[in-house]
């Protein structure tokens, strides 16, 4: 299958107050259509930077990103993003937040689609409420609904469940997977949780500590759905998990020294 997203030789150097930080160094990989890619790496290794470049929010210092074979200097209408810190618009109702992206897609008619997503994500009855009236878990459901509402071909998620408690996180992970099995989008999902990365991903990218580079890429072939006990407690799952643990530990120790 032809790759959908290509990252070739991407480097990013930030300058702040005369100091230079190399956030990414020569990162190259490809993502296939409908692939669920999860990315793990030590804190500050450039995961968010990578996603921003992928989304077209940030032009890399060098290297190139291609989407469907074309370079793309600004956010593509096929993309949508879910943020770690939700980023709902506080002056808009839940419904207006969910429908936010539609206006840029010339699709005014999708009112039903927003309603449908609101129902599917358990937000019914809150359409006229404002984000501050919702719990963190509900706010992130709105964030997910907002992203899905534009029917993106590529969904980018930057630690979307990190700010949530364990239970809410598990519920949203399952919902996320249900939605994904329903209409397989290409997903690029950043996380701090190894379990989450294995549960969700087809392809798992492990990054090196700063400057961010790719350490390992692993295809995950465990049968889905993976939260079933027989998968989650299978030797294959546990082995994979401890393998990734070790890889990350190396990076963290490297930095400590």
């Amino acid at each position: 299958m032809a790759p959908l997203l290509e990252f070739s030789g991407v480097s990013q150097v930030y300058e702040a107050g005369g100091e230079f930080t190399t956030a990414l160094e020569n990162v190259t990989f490809t993502i296939k259509p409908q692939q669920f890619v999860t990315i793990v790496g030590p804190s500050g290794c450039g995961k968010t930077t990578l996603l921003k470049i992928l989304a077209g929010l940030l032009a890399p210092s060098s290297g190139e990103v291609r989407y469907a074979g074309k370079a793309q200097p600004r956010p593509h209408p096929d993309f949508a993003m879910v943020f770690q810190d939700f980023r709902l618009f506080p002056w808009m109702t839940i419904l207006a937040n969910v429908e936010f992206g539609l206006r840029f897609h010339g699709r005014e008619r999708s009112h039903e689609r927003a309603q449908d997503l609101i129902k599917r994500l358990g937000l019914e009855g809150f359409e006229r409420h404002y984000p501050y009236e919702l719990s963190g878990g509900m706010q992130q459901r709105v964030g997910i609904a907002r992203a899905l509402c534009v029917e993106p071909k590529v969904l980018m998620m930057d630690e979307p469940f990190a700010a949530l408690d364990a239970q809410t996180r598990e519920i949203l992970q399952r919902e996320m997977l249900d939605l994904w099995e329903h209409d397989r989008k290409t997903v690029c999902f950043i996380t701090h949780s190894i379990d989450e990365a294995i549960l969700l991903g087809d392809l798992l990218i492990v990054m090196k500590a700063r400057p961010g580079r790719i350490k390992t890429m692993l295809d995950i072939t465990l049968p889905r759905p993976r939260w079933r006990r027989e998968v989650k407690e299978s030797p294959a799952f546990l082995e994979l998990r401890s393998h990734i643990w070790e890889l990350l530990e190396e990076e963290i120790n490297l930095r400590r020294r």
Binding site: L57, P77, F79, F83, D85, R87, W91, F100, R146
Partner: protein, 255 residues
């Protein structure tokens, strides 16, 4: 009982006010503890208000003050809001003008009145200028702060979904600035009211400030109280009204 609980602050506020008026009335009208030259009884003030209404003696003054107040405030809004927003978005301009704005914002602007009298003579222009200067700075300062409170994370979120610069202004910058614009207008309004009264103390032969000075000079204490009460009521109504608008337009700010 439940009704009492729900409106507790209103009920308590009104009973406090009623008690205060009762004591005042008792001390002045009934017990005559205070010389009526210094303090008029509420009943006397009320009947003075009635007779002023009937003679419509106050009308031209009310009208004059209203005109000065509204023309100057409107222009302060029209000039102050865009200027404040611009300063908030253009750091270079802000840095350039910061000393002037800080100086004018902090200083007691009534001190400039004699200067305006020299420049513009005794008349509407001087009053207008003072009221404008008093109202415009709180508006500028708040709009400037408002333009700075725009959260870059939200701008980024809008951009991901395909928003261009114009969309970002309309959908993100404007709504996040609006609450502080309204706060600026509310503060400007209070300042304008002070400006009108003070300017009329010194200038002209009309307006509520003039009525106050004249009533004082002729020892018509009840009339002073009527005008003071009117000003008080106007200030409360206007600022409550703006507060209500703020709450309507920016409910997320009042969680």
């Amino acid at each position: 009982m439940r009704l009492l609980k729900r409106h507790r602050s209103l009920v308590l506020g009104l009973s406090g006010l009623a008690g205060f008026l009762a004591v005042w009335e008792l001390a002045t009208a009934t017990l005559r503890l205070v010389d009526p030259l210094f303090l008029s009884a509420p009943s006397v003030i009320l009947s003075e208000f009635g007779s002023l209404l009937r003679s419509s003696e106050l009308n031209p003054h009310l009208w004059a003050s209203l005109k000065e107040f509204s023309v100057a405030l409107a222009l302060a809004i029209v000039a102050g809001v865009p200027l404040g927003l611009l300063l908030g978005r253009l750091t270079i301009l802000e840095e350039l003008l910061d000393p002037f704005i800080m100086a004018f914002y902090s200083m007691p602007k009534v001190a400039l009145l004699p200067l305006f009298l020299v420049w513009f003579g005794i008349g509407f222009t001087s009053i207008f200028t003072l009221v404008f200067v008093m109202a415009v700075f709180p508006i500028i300062i708040n709009c400037l702060a408002g333009a700075k409170t725009v959260n870059p994370a939200l701008v980024e979120a809008a951009r991901v979904f395909g928003a261009g610069e114009k969309d970002i202004f309309v959908l993100v910058v404007w709504p996040s600035t609006l609450p502080l614009i309204l706060t600026g207008i509310r503060l400007g309004l209070g300042a304008a009211l002070i400006g009108v009264v003070v300017a009329e103390f010194y200038i002209g032969n009309s307006g509520l400030g003039y009525v106050l000075v004249e009533a004082g000079a002729t020892f018509r204490t009840p009339k002073i109280f009527v005008v003071v009460t009117l000003l008080m009521a106007a200030a409360i109504v206007l600022s409550k009204w703006l507060e209500w608008i703020e709450r309507r337009l920016a409910p997320w700010k009042y969680r």
